[in-house]
C-alpha cells in the first residue's frame, strides 16, 4: 500500500512538472497540476482492477499507461485554458507585418460585422462613433470630424482597428464588462448582450478648436485637466476620414484600398497619432526637466546664479548663446535661464547634476517609459544608450533639450501637469465611464502614475514657469485674469525649420489645465505652437 502511494505521489510530481512546462503562462498552474495529478491517480485506479499483482511487468504496464494518460490530460487542460478560460486572449490577438498587412482572426472580423459595438460619446453626450444597421450588416459611422484623429477606425475586413477603437475594443464589444450570465447567454444561446456606451472626457468645443487651430499644420496638441488627469482635447494633424476605411463590402473595400494607399504614400503620415506616438526632440521645453532635477537634488534653486558670457566650450565644442535679451549681462539666475531659455546656463546645470543623476531625474518624470492609460503610447528615450550621457558634450546638449532625447507631446503635457499640481503625475484618462443599459460597469481611473518631484520642487518650478510667462519669451502666452505658467521650445529637426514646442498650464481659480503643443517644422516655439496653446488655454479656462 505504501509503495502504491509512493508511486502515485511520484506520478503526481511528474505531472506537476509537465503542467508547469506546458503552461508557462498559466495563472492557476498549481490548481491545474493538482487536477492533473488527481486524474492520473484515478487513471491508475481504473487500470489496476484492485488486484495489483506483484508481477513487476504488470506494474510497468500500468506506469507506461499512466504516462500516456497524463499527457492526454495535459492536452485537455491546455484545451480548457485556450477555449474556456481565456478564449478572448487568443481570439483577439493580431499581428502586423512590415507592409502593414494585418493578420486577424477571421471570426472576429465577421463578428464585428454582425455583433453590436458600443457608442463613443464626448463629455456632453454627443455621439462621436456609432454602429448603424444597414441590411443586417453593422456599419461604423463617425460624425465628428474633430475627433477623427483620436477615435481611429474599425475596418473589420481590411485594415483592422486603430486609435480609441482599438484601445477600447474590449469595452466597446462588452468583453470587459461581460457577466457570467452574459457569457452563458452568448455561448449557449448565441445572443450577444447589449452594447456598452463609452463616455469620453473629451470636451467637444475645445477639441473642435484644437483641430481647427491645427488645420493645415503638421503636429498635435493635448489638453489635460491637471486635478484629475482627464484629457479634455487631443488632436493630431493631418487627420484621416475613418468613414472611408470602414469597408464592409466589395465595392467600398476597393475605394478604401485606394484611400489607404493614398494615406500610406502621404509623406505627412496622417495615420500617425502624433500626440501619443509621435516622438520628437523636446527642445527647450526640456529645460523644465533639467531644472526640476537640479532643484530636487538641492544642487540649485530658482535664484542660483550661473555665468553666461555668450559662449561655452564643452569637450572642445563651442556653444554660442543667442538667447540673452541683454548681451552685456553675464550673470543669470536659474529662473531667468528658463524664462530666456539660456542654453549655456542649462548646459552648466546638466554638467553639475552629472550623467547618472540626470538620467535618474528624467526617469523620475517617466521619460523613456510607457505612459499608462487608455491609449497606447510610445515610451521615448533620454538617450539611445546610458553610455551616451557619459560624454560631457552629450550631457550638456541633453540638458537643454537636444542630444538624443525623444518625447511625445502627451508626455510633455504630463510634465506641465506635475508642476501645476503637487509634483505627481496622474494616469491620463480618456474614459470617464462605461455603461451598459445605464448601469456603470467601469469608472474613471483615478490612479497616480508616479511622483515626478517633491511638492516643494513643484512649487519652485511653478514660480519659474509663471516667471517665464510673465517676463520671459513665453510672456505673450499671458492671459488676463488667469495664472499661467509656460515654456516655449525650439527643437532642431534636422531641417531648416525647427519643431515648434509649447507647454503650459493655467488656472482660473476653479479649473486648472495643462497643455502641450508640438508643430513639426513650425519654426520658433514662441510662434505657432504658443498661439495654438494659448487659444486652447483660454478656451478651456473661461474667466
Amino acid at each position: 500500500m505504501t509503495r502504491r502511494r509512493r508511486r502515485c505521489l511520484t506520478i503526481a510530481g511528474i505531472s506537476a512538472i509537465v503542467v508547469a512546462f506546458a503552461f508557462p503562462d498559466l495563472p492557476h498552474g498549481a490548481i491545474l497540476a493538482l487536477a492533473l495529478s488527481g486524474a492520473t491517480f484515478l487513471a491508475i485506479v481504473v487500470v489496476s482492477p484492485g488486484r495489483l499483482a506483484d508481477d513487476p511487468r504488470r506494474r510497468r504496464i500500468i506506469r507506461a499507461g499512466a504516462v500516456i494518460v497524463a499527457l492526454q490530460v495535459t492536452g485537455l487542460v491546455r484545451a480548457f485554458r485556450v477555449a474556456v478560460v481565456h478564449p478572448d486572449e487568443t481570439a483577439s490577438r493580431q499581428a502586423v507585418d512590415d507592409a502593414d498587412d494585418v493578420l486577424t482572426n477571421p471570426r472576429v472580423s465577421l463578428n464585428r460585422l454582425t455583433q453590436p459595438r458600443g457608442r463613443l460619446l464626448s463629455d456632453d453626450g454627443t455621439v462621436v462613433a456609432r454602429s448603424r444597421d444597414r441590411d443586417g450588416v453593422l456599419r461604423r459611422e463617425y460624425d465628428e470630424p474633430s475627433m477623427y484623429s483620436l477615435v481611429g477606425y474599425v475596418s473589420p475586413l481590411k485594415f483592422g482597428l486603430s486609435g480609441l477603437e482599438a484601445a477600447l475594443d474590449d469595452q466597446l464589444t462588452g468583453v470587459r464588462s461581460m457577466t457570467i450570465r452574459g457569457a452563458l447567454r452568448r455561448s449557449l444561446l448565441g445572443r450577444p448582450g447589449p452594447a456598452p456606451t463609452v463616455e469620453l472626457s473629451v470636451n467637444l468645443p475645445t477639441q473642435r478648436l484644437a483641430s481647427e487651430l491645427l488645420d493645415g499644420l503638421v503636429g498635435s496638441a493635448v489638453l489635460i485637466e491637471t486635478e484629475t488627469g482627464r484629457i479634455l482635447a487631443m488632436a493630431s494633424s493631418p487627420t484621416i476620414d475613418p468613414n472611408r476605411l470602414v469597408a464592409v463590402d466589395v465595392e467600398s473595400s476597393a475605394d478604401a484600398q485606394v484611400y489607404w494607399d493614398e494615406l500610406l504614400t502621404d509623406e505627412r503620415r496622417p495615420l500617425l497619432s502624433r500626440a501619443t506616438t509621435g516622438l520628437y526632440p523636446p527642445g527647450s521645453t526640456f529645460k523644465v526637466v533639467t531644472a526640476a532635477t537640479a532643484i530636487e537634488l538641492g544642487i540649485a534653486g530658482p535664484d542660483s546664479v550661473y555665468t553666461d558670457t555668450g559662449e561655452l566650450v564643452v569637450e572642445g565644442r563651442e556653444h554660442i548663446e543667442r538667447n540673452r535679451p541683454d548681451a552685456t549681462r553675464t550673470d543669470w539666475t536659474l529662473a531667468e535661464g528658463l524664462a530666456y531659455s539660456l542654453n549655456i546656463v542649462y548646459a552648466q546645470v546638466g554638467l553639475e547634476v552629472g550623467a547618472e543623476r540626470y538620467a535618474d531625474g528624467a526617469t523620475a518624470l517617466g521619460i523613456g517609459e510607457v505612459i499608462p492609460g487608455d491609449l497606447p503610447t510610445e515610451p521615448g528615450q533620454v538617450a539611445s544608450s546610458p553610455d551616451f550621457l557619459a560624454s560631457d558634450s552629450a550631457l550638456a546638449d541633453t540638458a537643454f533639450g537636444q542630444g538624443e532625447l525623444l518625447v511625445t507631446p502627451l508626455h510633455m503635457a504630463l510634465v506641465a501637469t506635475a508642476i501645476a499640481r503637487d509634483g505627481t503625475i496622474p494616469v491620463p484618462t480618456l474614459v470617464d465611464r462605461v455603461t451598459v443599459d445605464g448601469d456603470e460597469v467601469q469608472g474613471r481611473s483615478t490612479d497616480i502614475w508616479r511622483r515626478a518631484m517633491s511638492p516643494e520642487t513643484a512649487s519652485a518650478m511653478d514660480g519659474m514657469m509663471v516667471d517665464s510667462a510673465t517676463y520671459g519669451y513665453a510672456r505673450s502666452a499671458a492671459i488676463d485674469g488667469l495664472r499661467i505658467g509656460a515654456k516655449t521650445g525650439t527643437a532642431e529637426s534636422g531641417r531648416d525649420d525647427p519643431h515648434s514646442w509649447f507647454i503650459a498650464y493655467g488656472s482660473n481659480g476653479s479649473t486648472s489645465v495643462a497643455v502641450a503643443v508640438c508643430i513639426e517644422f513650425g519654426g520658433e516655439g514662441g510662434g505657432v505652437a504658443l498661439r495654438v496653446g494659448k487659444e486652447l488655454l483660454a478656451a478651456a479656462l473661461p474667466p
Partner: protein
Amino acid sequence: MTPDRGFHLTAVLTAVRWNELRLLLVSVALLVVGLLSTSIAVKPDHLLDLVSLRPAIAPAFLLVCLTVVWAASGMAASELILPTIAMLLCTGLVLIERLQVDIGPPGTALAGLSGRHQLYVGLAIGTLFTTGRWFPFWKATRRYKYLVMTGSLLLMLVTLVFGTERYGAKLWLEVGPLSIQTSEIIKLGLVLFLAAYLHEKGDLLGATWHVGPLSLPPVPTLIPLLGVLAISVGLVVVLDDLGTALLLFGITLTMFYVATGNGWYVGVGLFAFAACSWFAYQRFGRVGIRVANWLDPWSDPFVGGYQQIQSDYALAAGGLLGTGLGRGQPEAIPAVHTDFVLSALMEETGFVGVSAVVACNIILLLLGLRIALSTPILYERLLGVGLATTLGLQAVIITGGVLRVIPLTGVTLPFVSAGGSSLIANAVAAGMLINLSHRVARRETVL
C-alpha cells in the same frame, strides 16, 4: 454451446452482445444527429434533408451486422472496445462530411474527400470484423519475426526511393490507383517484431552486466534495438517525418521498458531521441519551424506560424460547447483535414467534444492495457501493450501537437482523421487487440 442455437430465438437472444449493440446505437445516433445538424446549418431552408443521411446508413448497417455476426460466431471479447472505436469513427465521418462543405466544394481537388473517407471507414469496419474474430496472424509472425523486421525496413527503403511527396514529406507509395502511407505498415511491423523479439530475448536483455554504475545488456542483443533506432532516425532525417519517428520511438521504449524493466533503456533512448531531434532542429528548417510554432507561433505569424495561429483561433472560438456543427469557420486553417481535425472539432463542438474524443482514446488505451494485464502469456502481453500504446501514443502526439503541449508533428488522429492507410492500419491494430481479448476470455471460460 448447443450446435443448433442459431435456430432458436431464445438462444439467439442470449447470444446477442447487448452491451455492445446498445453502445453501438449511441455511435449511430451521434452519426445521424451530427450529419443532420450539419445539413441544417449549411442548408437552413431544408430542415430535414434526408439525402444528407445517406453516408450514415452504410456504417450504421455494417456496425450492427458486425456485432450480430460476431455474437453468432461465439465472440467472447470485451464488449467495450468496438463501441469506443465506433464512436471515434462516427465522429470522423461527421467531421469530414462537414469539412467537405467548406474545403472541398464540387469541382475542387478535395471534392471527393468525404466519399473516399466513407469508403475507407467501411473498409476499416470490415478489417475490424475479420481481424477481430479470425486470423490470429500474429502467431505466424512470431515465428518469422526477423522477416517482418526486414520487410518493414525494405518497405521504408522503397518509400525512400520511389515514394511520392505530399505536404512536404515523402511518405506515400503509389501502387497503381492506390497510394499507401507505408509508415502505417512499418508501425504494425515494429510492434509484431518487438513483441516476438522481446519475448524471446527479454530475460537476456534484463540480465545485465555492469560497467561502473551503468548496467548494460549483452551487446549482440542490442543490435535490433539499434536497428529500430536507425529506422526512427532515418525517418526523421531522410523522410522528414518527425511524427512517425516519435511514435516508433515511443512504442520501442515502452515495450523495452515493460519487457526488461531496465530504466536505462528509457533514459538512453530518450537521450538519443533528444539528440536526434536537436540535430534535426538545427539542421532541417521544417523541424525548426515546428519547434518555433510550438514555443510561439506569433514569432513568425505570416508564414511559419500561420497555420498554428489559425488553429489557435479555431480552438479559442470553440468555448465550452462550440459554435455548433457547420456554424464555425474551421476552413480558415490551411489543410485542416490532415493535421488539424481536432481544431475543427474544438471550434464546432467545443471543449466538451474534444474531451469526448480524448476520453475515447484514453478508454481505448486502458482497455488495451487491461487485455495485456489479464493474459498470462508473455508474448500476448507484450503484443497487447505494443498495440495499445501504438493507438494511445499516436493520439497523444497529434492532440498534444494541435494543443501545443508538444511540437506539432503530422500523424493522424486514430479513427478520426481522413486517410485510408491510417484507418486500415489502426483497424488492424484494434482488431488484433479484440482478437487477443477474445482468446484470453475464452481461455478463462475453458479453465
